[in-house]
């Protein structure tokens, strides 16, 4: 099964990079982190420290900020809507359905490919933060040394912050991105048209955003926190905040893994059901 998973995975990645649209997505995906970086620089230069750790601008950069959430809201449906629904629309799904590998391998390979592409599009986020940490933006011509003589070299580190925030945010992007990709894969499996799958995925992600914001709203209304503690495991976007503070809650990772597995299993069931219906 692993060989089939890898074959499907490789085919999906090659298909993405073969199309100009893929490169265009990668190019455009760098814009939100650049805008968010400008916002981070402006907040940091203005001074003032937030009272809560989750309110620090650096913590929010890889947390549930407006730019990152919007990026995921667009990218996840865009990358997952074609995974299965498009194959089915073109009639290519029968090849997968009648393959020896079984539907599990196909669904898993497609999910892994979409997850990889999502992370590839999110690479500029940690890159921007890392660059802002290691480089202050100033050049200085190299004074000595033959090969580098006269070349402008970076002069020193920039925004000093704990590297744990960057690592934790990175892990959070991977974990939450995986769950969202599984959700998109499931939608693509259950829908017959890619556009419908994308719309449903975007709607579900939007509902998740609203659900994640609900505890904050209720807290502002002075409703006791313990009354909506049950919502926390399902407030997916708030989980980014936990990771971006430099921690990796193992229980939360396990919950995401369980939900992703459930969604992938639902995708497999949908593929099996629809293939049987077509047959």
């Amino acid at each position: 099964m692993l060989a089939v998973v890898m074959a499907v995975y490789r085919r999906e990645l090659q298909g993405f990079h073969r199309r100009p649209l893929g490169w265009l997505i990668l190019l455009v995906a760098a814009l939100p982190p650049l805008v968010a970086g400008a916002w981070l620089v402006a907040l940091s230069a203005r001074g003032g420290l937030a009272t809560r750790a989750s309110g620090q601008p650096v913590t929010q950069f890889l947390g549930p900020n407006l730019f990152l959430v919007s990026t995921l809201l667009v990218l996840v449906p865009l990358l997952t809507m074609n995974l299965i629904a498009e194959e089915r629309r073109r009639g290519a799904w029968e090849l997968y359905a009648t393959s020896a590998a079984g539907l599990e391998g196909v669904v898993l390979g497609k999910f892994l490919a979409a997850w990889t592409l999502l992370l590839l599009c999110l690479v500029p986020w940690p890159l921007v933060l890392g660059l802002l940490r290691v480089w202050n933006g100033e050049f200085q011509p190299a004074a000595s040394g033959w090969p580098l003589f006269g070349l402008p070299l970076p002069t020193g580190p920039g925004l000093a912050f704990d590297p744990g925030l960057l690592l934790g945010g990175l892990v959070g992007l991977c974990v939450v991105g995986g769950t969202l990709t599984a959700l998109g894969t499931c939608c693509s499996a259950w829908c017959r048209h890619p556009l419908l799958a994308g719309l449903i995925t975007a709607t579900l992600l939007g509902l998740l955003v609203a659900f994640s914001l609900l505890p904050t709203v209720l807290e502002n209304w002075r409703i006791p926190l313990e009354q909506f503690a049950w919502m926390r495991p399902w407030a997916v976007w708030s989980h980014l905040s936990e990771f971006s503070q430099g921690t990796v809650p193992l229980g939360r990772c396990g919950q995401h893994l369980a939900v992703s597995l459930a969604l992938l299993w639902l995708s497999r069931v949908a593929c099996q059901d629809q293939s049987a219906g077509a047959a």
Binding site: L34, G55, P124, R222, V269, Q272
Partner: protein, 571 residues
């Protein structure tokens, strides 16, 4: 859905399997379990009903509960990896143990206004943030701790509670535990730490203090410990000159100390009257003595007993009252031997400030306490220039703080009932270290005037220019270890009945409790939780450099994407 929708039927394609299609292994035929010949089921009806359910649904019925169980099991895992360099997101074991040993749910209420208006309320909001972070971390470990915020100005039930417990400072943090039907209360005052949150180092102290304070409060809440004994020293001075007599509770009596005694008992201290006129063998032996009014007419024998107590390792909070000393000139000289042993010099003067709003305020440390450093640093400040603006709010607030029981503004000049307390630096080598706790503003805005009768006017020949210290913490230093010895405050008015019942009385009381906590070695800075270093986020000097980083990254990323796309399209 028909039974033909099972995986086996998909492979079959409604007829014979295609030639190119290899035969699936038996492990992939789970969906055909209903058609596989097997022994007679134990419950035939149930088996027939189970077989009637479509295969995908059957699969879901197996898998979803399994995944749900995994999900629930993962939810109970509270292990968290801390990736930060100094493990600032890790709860210290002492606090974790205290959280896990809670006998019941503890409700933590942050008493803060919905919309902070005064400087003090804004500063409190800044100081309580790290505490909220710590509580959230405790909650993530499964601790039975709930957190809520409440405005005591609008919450009627809370106002009634605060009326019953006037020792609870507002704004502040209230911890409540219902222990077998017996409600227990503890409070935390964070207002004096508000200044700390403004710097990176201050964040370190706040993070550390938040954990230590929460640990201490939870420990007190559970054990309801009232074993901290404080001896209230009585002597011949109290008999005819008054002083802070704990027997006088009427608020109209300025010199009564009954309110202070009652509040200290509510805060968990056992107040034991300690009459120095009695033989030493008949008196209780608390480790900490509260000496209300060092300027009173104590007899030399009594003063010698106080000195002996300090010499033998005892601790004391000594309040010097200028007004009483003025009534009995010459009596204060008897204290010189005590002050000399403490390495202090208590002036026969009065503190004068030009701006009564910025007169005498507590100073808090901006440096994190570290192992081996002076514990008094948690009460004091290395920098006198960073006075917390929170406690300069109003004249009423000033009255509540030690040394600020002002007689009222005389134009722009204000005279305080405090005397200066100076450190004799030459005694540092003799094992005594003095740390300033309360200081006035720098000269020329304040000074200590030796002319007690005339109008206040600075005379450089005889007066002491500001900043004038009015409270000192004294520690014994031996073999690299510092132990609390005494705190000398050049004022006692702020702890009198009238001072404590003033609108900002809780501020002065909270400061006094902090001092007593330190003296009884029950201070958060002395808790087993060491300070965790907080990596401050250094701000860029200007936004130009970081913007250049962003532009460079954008150009490189765009060029890379375009070049790869062009290369792909050519190939």
């Amino acid at each position: 859905m028909s039974p033909s929708s099972s995986p086996g039927s998909i492979v079959a394609g409604g007829g014979a399997p295609p030639l190119a299609q290899p035969v699936r292994p038996a492990t992939q035929l789970r969906g055909l379990a209903g058609t596989t010949p097997r022994s007679a089921p134990r419950f035939p009806r149930l088996a027939r009903g189970w077989r009637f359910i479509p295969s995908p649904v059957r699969t879901l019925l197996w898998w979803l509960p399994c995944l749900g169980a995994i999900w629930l099991a993962c939810g109970s895992v509270t292990t968290t990896l801390d990736l930060t360099r100094h493990k600032t997101q890790t709860i210290e074991p002492a606090l974790l143990a205290a959280c896990r040993q809670l006998p019941g749910p503890v409700q933590i209420t942050i008493l803060a206004p919905t919309e902070p208006r005064s400087v003090g309320e804004h500063a409190f909001a800044a100081a309580v943030g790290p505490l909220q972070d710590v509580i959230a971390r405790c909650q993530s470990t499964g601790a039975k701790v709930t957190l809520r915020s409440a405005d005591w100005k609008t919450d009627l039930a809370l106002r009634e509670l605060l009326d019953r417990h006037p020792e609870v400072p507002v704004p502040g943090v209230l911890l409540q535990l219902d222990m077998n039907g017996e409600p227990r209360l503890q409070s935390l005052g964070l207002a004096d730490l508000a200044q700390l949150g403004r710097t990176g180092e201050g964040q370190t102290v706040l993070q550390s203090y938040a954990q230590s304070a929460l640990h201490l409060a939870l420990t007190r809440l559970v054990s309801q410990r009232t074993t901290q004994r404080v001896g209230w020293v009585l002597g011949s001075g109290n008999g005819h000159l008054g002083g802070l007599n704990p027997q006088i509770e009427e608020h109209s009596d300025r010199q009564g100390g009954g309110v202070l005694a009652a509040r200290l008992q509510s805060a968990g201290y056992t107040i034991e009257p300690l009459d120095l006129r009695q033989p030493a063998g008949d008196r209780p032996r608390p480790a900490v003595w509260l000496i209300p009014g060092g300027g009173q007419a104590w007899t030399p024998a009594e003063i010698e007993q106080l000195a002996q107590h300090l010499r033998s390792g005892g601790r004391g909070l000594i309040l010097v009252e200028r007004r009483l000393r003025d009534q009995t000139p010459g009596q204060g000289d008897s204290w010189q031997s005590v002050w000399s042993e403490l390495g202090l010099r208590v002036g026969a003067d009065r503190v004068v400030a030009l701006d009564h709003l910025n007169a005498v305020v507590p100073v808090v440390t901006t440096q994190p306490p570290s192992p081996g450093s002076t514990p008094a640093a948690s009460l004091s400040s290395a920098s006198r220039s960073t006075l917390p603006a929170t406690l300069r709010a109003s004249p009423a607030d000033n009255r509540a703080m030690p040394g600020t029981g002002g007689r009222g503004a005389m134009g722009s000049v204000n005279v305080f009932e405090a005397v200066s307390v100076r450190s004799l630096l030459t005694l540092e080598d003799h094992g005594v270290v003095a740390t300033p706790l309360l200081c006035s503003d720098p000269a020329p805005r304040s000074w200590a005037e030796s002319d007690l009768a005339g109008p206040p006017q600075f005379d450089p020949a005889t007066d002491l220019p500001g900043p004038v210290c009015v409270a000192m913490a004294v520690e014994r230093a031996a073999a690299g270890r510092h132990d609390p010895m005494a705190i000398v405050v050049g004022d006692a008015e702020f702890l009198s009945n009238s001072g404590l019942t003033s609108p900002a009385g809780p501020a002065g009381f909270a400061w006094t409790v902090a001092c007593l906590d330190w003296l009884t070695a029950d201070n958060p800075a002395n808790s087993p939780i060491p300070p965790q270093l907080f990596s401050p986020i250094a701000r860029p000097s200007s936004a130009r450099g970081p913007r250049r980083v962003l532009w460079t990254f954008g150009l490189v990323w765009g060029a890379a994407c375009l070049s790869f796309a062009a290369a792909r399209s050519r190939s």
